[in-house]
Amino acid sequence: MDQARAGEFDAFVAARWSALLHLARLLTGGDRHRAEDLVQESLVKLWFVWPRIADEAPEAYVRTVLVRAAARSARRRWWGERPVEQVPEAPVAGDVSAAVAERSRLEVALARLPAKQRAAVVLRYYQDLSERQVAEVLGCPLGTARSHAARGVARLRELLADVIEPVG
């Protein structure tokens, strides 16, 4: 890849890193380190196809790779994690706040969903994709994607009943 393309790639990654990491975090049910691994893996794959899809839809490509990698990694039992002597990131004082508590509740609730349902819900409500686009990203029929999303939302209604109050 030439320098101009490499510069475009770096700019894309710098601009979209935060959003991709949040998407991966939702897809993994709040596992930050696994989310970073997935984003890295997806961006490495994007690097090799960047000259072909840089002018088209690189974010859609990364999203598809990310969702499928998340579904694949959810089937694994061991993530290649090894114990270390020092924890890489210590919690800061601001973590204990209402916003973080709300996010933690959401991530815990998402983590209790099956991977396909979680991906369908995240793509439908966070990425704001249509049902057909969700089906394309998941690689399944439209009815199956619709079913995954509906079941996932129904389960989240139960889990997040105290966080999201129903309208009276």
């Binding site: 890193w17 939302v153 999201i164």
Partner: protein, 174 residues
């Protein structure tokens, strides 16, 4: 989209935390790209080696199974003469069935050089073959005037007898 779904979408967006793409992430991404590039190169190398090995194995096995037909080879005959029993026995199967007794003269005078003659070039014992020994000076001289005289002499002595003696009785001779 009902109220819960709207609140769910808002919750997913509002909980996004800005995290910059730092140098540590960049280094890790580059290391991942290099590692994947090495893996791809290794896969290509292994694939090339396997392809060459398979091709070599195929080329090694195929000639043993299929008979090779050469363009200048004589057509198979039901019965052939012993190849080196007589000095002029080698070219006789081609001329015996196709050329009349008056015909062998132009047939044997066609190859002026020994290198183009498949019989002369395949015969390792060139000194025992009178055609090989006669054609060797012919190859040195570009004129080719000697070859018709040699072939006329030898062809006149040997060829009219061979088709009758060597061809089987069942094959009609022209």
């Amino acid at each position: 989209m009902d109220h819960f779904e709207q609140q769910l979408a808002r919750l997913m967006r509002d909980t996004e935390q800005y995290s910059p793409f730092g140098p540590g992430h960049r280094d890790r991404l580059r290391a991942g790209v290099l590692a994947r590039r090495r893996v791809r190169l290794a896969q290509k190398a292994v694939g090339s080696v396997l392809a060459v090995a398979g091709l070599s194995l195929g080329l090694f096995l195929i000639p043993d199974t299929a008979p090779r037909t050469e363009p200048g080879a004589p057509p198979p005959r039901p019965a052939s003469s012993p190849p080196h029993s007589s000095p002029g026995a080698t070219p006789s199967p081609t001329t015996s069935a196709t050329v009349s007794p008056s015909g062998p003269t132009p047939t044997y005078s066609v190859p002026p050089t020994g290198s183009d003659d498949p019989y002369g070039s395949d015969d390792p014992l060139g000194s025992a073959d009178p055609y090989g020994s006669a054609s060797s000076p012919g190859t040195a001289s570009p004129g080719g005037a000697e070859s018709p005289t040699h072939t006329d002499d030898s062809g006149g002595e040997t060829h009219p007898d061979r088709p009758e003696s060597e061809s089987p009785a069942g094959i009609p001779t022209p």
